[in-house]
């Protein structure tokens, strides 16, 4: 994960003068940044500084009030983007009544499948062998988060947007997230992750993107 040697290619994600207003109050100011393949960027900000909102704008769920988002150099539209972007928010998007395997099958049906990996393998790489057919309701919070991480491994998205991926995870879980991020960056993916700064991103020193409220 060396940001320097990738800056000459077109950035995977680029924000130009990106602003978002709610009730005409700026949530985050004009933001300019680029995210290249192989990079993991940690976005820091105090409570209410707009981290979650920024991720929603970057994933096309909220329209930006000003400025634009470029994906591989082309403007973002919800349809184009969705092959390339995977979002993991505060809500995991898992059905509690279904098993991890059924949840992953649905995600594959909707989002597609990365080459060279199966649902079983994805579950194994988040240390959930043996839980394939247990309803998610019976899993602990940490294990549920792992299922959601398995979904990231499975769908063919190059850009991961992770909102507080460490929250509610114990130390093992935090190490797992860091390992997954490293693997993803090594094979040419990129990730933007948020944190309010109280957790440690332990593997190396990531590039940090401070988010300041402009109001």
């Amino acid at each position: 994960m060396s940001p320097a040697d990738t800056t000459d290619t077109a950035p995977l994600l680029e924000a130009r003068g990106l602003t978002f207003l709610r009730n005409d109050e700026p949530i985050f100011g004009p933001l300019n940044f680029a995210l290249h393949a192989g990079e993991v960027v940690l976005m820091e900000g105090d409570n209410g500084s707009g981290k979650t909102t920024l991720l929603k704008v970057l994933s096309g769920l909220l329209p930006p009030s000003e400025g634009e988002v470029l994906l591989n150099g082309a403007p973002l539209t919800l349809a184009r983007l969705s092959h390339q972007v995977a979002l993991l928010g505060h809500l995991l998007g898992l059905k509690l009544e279904l098993s991890p395997l059924q949840n992953l099958r649905f995600a594959m049906g909707i989002g597609g499948l990365r080459a060279g990996i199966s649902a079983h393998q994805a579950l194994a790489s988040v240390n959930l062998e043996g839980y394939e057919d247990v309803p998610v309701r019976q899993l602990s919070a940490g294990q549920r988060k792992r299922v959601a991480l398995a979904r990231l491994l499975l769908v063919p998205a190059a850009l991961w947007l992770l909102d507080e991926p460490y929250a509610n995870l114990d130390r093992d879980g935090i190490a797992l997230v860091n390992r997954l991020l490293e693997v993803h960056a090594h094979r040419g993916g990129a990730a933007l992750i948020t944190s309010h700064g109280a957790y440690a991103y332990t593997s190396g020193t990531p590039r940090r993107l401070p988010l300041k409220v402009t109001a």
């Binding site: 349809a79 979002l87 995991l92 509690l96 099958r105 594959m108 909707i110």
Partner: protein, 227 residues
Amino acid sequence: MSFGSTQAACRALIVRDLTLVWRRRGDALNPVLFALMVLVLFPFALGPEPQVLGRIAAGTILVAVLLAGLLSMDALFRSDLEDGSLEQLVMSPHPLSLLLACKIAVHWLTTALPLVLASPLLGELMNLPGPVRPVLIAVLALSTPLLSLIGAVCVALTVGMRRSGMLLALLVLPLYVPVLIFAAGACNAAANGLPIAAPMLWLGAGLALSVVVAPLACASALKISLS
């Protein structure tokens, strides 16, 4: 690496929703039970005279079915919203309106179809006159999908809200009124031995129109209320 076909996406969605209903199959009976109970309240409230009940049977059944459908509507997107899968659905590369159409179809199959199938029983309970019975079934078969489609658009508008139950009723009922008028018109015509073709045709035309338009409207409404 494969991005999956739209057909596969629809299939995955239908399979998942049906599995979920199957996991909570007790809940699927709720609308029937609710309609049944509304109807049971009427003999208590009006007294058990068979002529009075028979006169109002068709209309009351229609109202009960409509209310039951309305109340079950609220659940269409709620659990998907609460656990975040609605966002995943909106972000999927496939046409949202098609996916929503699949969701609405499954919802109709699992909540309204049981009501249609139970309608002969409801008719029996309420002393429904003989010639109206087959007409009532046909009317319900035509109008419940129409109600589901119209309702889905309004639910999509209120989906992000807390305490949306009553508001949903307020939004939906004015739009349900025309459907109710034609449905009741057909039943009344049947009760009086008149031809029922005209109201049935209106219902059919409405259904055909809304099958095309409602999923699109639903998709736009959903995008508005998620943003």
